[in-house]
């Protein structure tokens, strides 16, 4: 006897993990299993790499062998292209995990003399699938057939038949297509793909190249229509997910020291919340890096690992400068508790940069992250971009319960400059540093502009960076005590 099922039962759409960093998160588990996914975009946008990663990860990690039908490059060329990513296609082929079939359809060697169909292609594909018991198939780029054969009406109906053929065999397939002028693909392949369409884009604005991925359509799955930045590097593609986390990360009441006892004092005597984000802004030479170094040092002293992203100074320079103000970071680098990563933001573009940061964080799994300064990131891109990218990074850090400190250089005479304002809303704590010229006396001042969820001092303090470290003093003639 069958039980009556409650009407709320929804069939869960089966999905196949791609193994592509971040993509499985934004798609809620990968591509639709047993269906055809269209991957479109202009030349050089990363389609082939995406498709190859889908197959290699499928074969290596998920036990699903795959067939790569390549309409553009020969097997050898393709193998050479992906070898740089550590994919050993010949080895995978020998183990019957992956099979590359090069299909040539060049017009000059084909004359058309009457009715025909693409049964030859079906037979080849069927043969390849059978040979390695494939579960995944890539057709890259099937649109090449249109340049090789004249009868486009016949081709289109045959492609429709091919996609059904794939689905009948429950193969999870990725079909690539070149972007057209006003259409997703030059030959309208999107008309035949009902389940999932992903578009890749490679834009250059202000000399900074950024790659983006958009899920145009994904039947039966909730997906954001946002564009997700992605990066191609030595480890392949990684998509930076917009946090669909909707601020649900757990918060802790645990506190961590700022590394400066007096500053801890201003923050209810305990310092920052673990997992919170801290912005330190100030004009040049006000001691932002010193504050960051003190915080990093305190983390290491607790035995926690710290990642320090240096965008302006080289690590030796930072170490030397900090030694001069009594902060010895070198012992922590020797113990490998403190790791520096120095890079120039402009070299990879903002998205690439933040993706790189994220990957390094994922690898090192630190408890504390320092970005010094974010100003350089801001300078490479518009304010809006920075904000959305930083939001993703910060959300990620929060989920991982990593406490982060970002320094930001504000220019003198422009205290509320846009970039600071744009990113400050993302920060839990905002510490402002500034120069003060009271009469002939030149001092540095520090105050806590905001710190969410705690009673904090609102007073200004004099920041004294001396040979013995950082101290805070009451501002002479200042307003009150704390």
């Amino acid at each position: 006897m069958s039980r009556t099922k409650p009407s709320v039962v929804r069939p869960q759409l089966a999905k196949a993990l791609t193994g592509i960093q971040g993509l499985d998160q934004v798609t809620g588990g990968g591509l639709p299993r047993g269906r055809v996914t269209l991957l479109c975009g202009s030349a050089g946008c990363g389609k082939s790499l995406f498709a190859m990663e889908f197959l290699v990860h499928g074969a290596v990690r998920y036990g699903e062998p795959g067939v790569y039908m390549d309409f553009e490059e020969t097997e050898k060329k393709l193998a050479a292209n992906v070898a740089s990513l550590g994919f050993n296609l010949p080895l995978l082929a020998r183990r019957k995990k992956l099979l590359v079939d090069y299909v040539s359809a060049e017009r000059h060697q084909i004359a058309e003399t009457g009715d025909y169909n693409l049964e030859g292609l079906f037979i080849r594909l069927g043969q390849a699938v059978k040979a390695i018991k494939a579960k995944r198939v890539v057709l890259d780029s099937i649109e090449s057939l249109f340049t090789g054969m004249a009868d486009s009406i016949l081709l289109r109906s045959e492609l429709g038949r091919l996609f059904r053929w794939l689905e009948d065999r429950e193969l999870t397939a990725v079909v690539t297509g070149e972007a057209g002028d006003h259409t997703l693909t030059r030959h309208g392949l999107e008309e035949y793909i009902a389940d999932c369409v992903i578009s890749l884009d490679h834009r250059v604005t202000e000399q900074i190249a950024t790659r983006r991925l958009r899920i145009v359509k994904y039947r039966g799955t909730f997906h954001g229509t946002d564009e997700y930045p992605f990066l191609i590097d030595s480890e392949g593609i990684s998509v930076v997910p917009l946090t669909a986390l909707a601020l649900t990360h757990t918060v802790t009441t645990e506190r961590v020291s700022t590394g400066i006892p007096a500053l801890d004092g201003m923050m209810g005597g305990k310092g920052f919340y673990r997992g919170s984000s801290v912005l330190v802004s100030g004009t040049a030479g006000t001691g932002k890096s010193s504050l960051a170094a003190a915080f990093a040092g305190a983390a290491c002293a607790r035995g926690e690992e710290c990642l320090y992203f240096a965008f302006e100074e080289s690590p030796p320079q930072i170490l030397r400068n900090m030694r001069s103000v009594g902060i010895d970071l070198e012992r922590w680098t020797r113990k490998r508790l403190l790791q520096f990563h120095a890079m120039r933001p402009t070299s990879t573009g903002l998205e690439g940069h933040l993706s790189a940061i994220r990957m390094l964080i994922e690898k090192a799994r630190p408890r504390v992250v320092i970005v010094d300064p974010i100003t350089n990131l801001v300078s490479t891109s518009g304010t809006y971009d920075v904000k959305s990218m930083l939001m993703r990074l910060i959300d990620y850090l929060k989920v991982e319960q990593i406490t982060s400190m970002f320094t930001n250089l504000s220019s003198a005479g422009d205290p509320q400059e846009l970039t600071t304002a744009a990113v400050s809303s993302l920060m839990d704590t905002w510490i402002v540093l500034r120069d003060d010229h009271a009469g002939d006396k030149h001092t540095r001042e520090l105050y806590v502009l905001k710190s969410r969820g705690m009673a904090h001092s609102r007073e200004r303090r004099e920041l004294i960076v001396g040979a013995k470290g950082i101290e805070l003093a009451m501002v002479s003639g200042g307003t009150a005590l704390a």
């Binding site: 009457g114 009715d115 025909y116 049964e119 030859g120 037979i123 080849r124 043969q127 054969m149």
Partner: protein
């Protein structure tokens, strides 16, 4: 099922610059395949009498042969001799195009 090579080894001669070795790929006995075989026989008898050999390959029986000659469409006729290797797709009903494709008649 055994495929009958249509005209097998008519003359003793099997090579030479004017000898044609043709291979026709089909997939089962579809109307298009049958038409292609018939069209090819007629055409060869008219234009290549005594200096050709036809081999019919049914990919339903020998699917592994599809890759070697880069077969996508069915039917496909491959001219293996004389060089260079050429491919002609379709049921060979347009004789003029087949003749041009086989270099038996100059292209316009």
């Amino acid at each position: 099922m055994k495929k009958i090579p249509a005209k097998k080894r008519r003359p003793a001669k099997t090579s030479g610059s004017d000898f044609y070795r043709l291979r026709l790929y089909i997939a089962g006995q579809t109307p298009n395949s049958i038409a292609a075989i018939a069209n090819l026989k007629t055409l060869c008898e008219e234009s290549l009498k005594g200096r050709y050999r036809i081999e019919v390959v049914d990919l339903l029986e020998k699917p592994q042969l599809a890759k070697g000659d880069q077969i996508i469409a069915i039917p496909t006729l491959v001219r293996r001799l004389p060089p260079p290797v050429k491919s002609i797709i379709g049921n060979l009903s347009r004789t003029d195009r087949v003749l041009v494709g086989l270099d038996l008649r100059p292209a316009r």
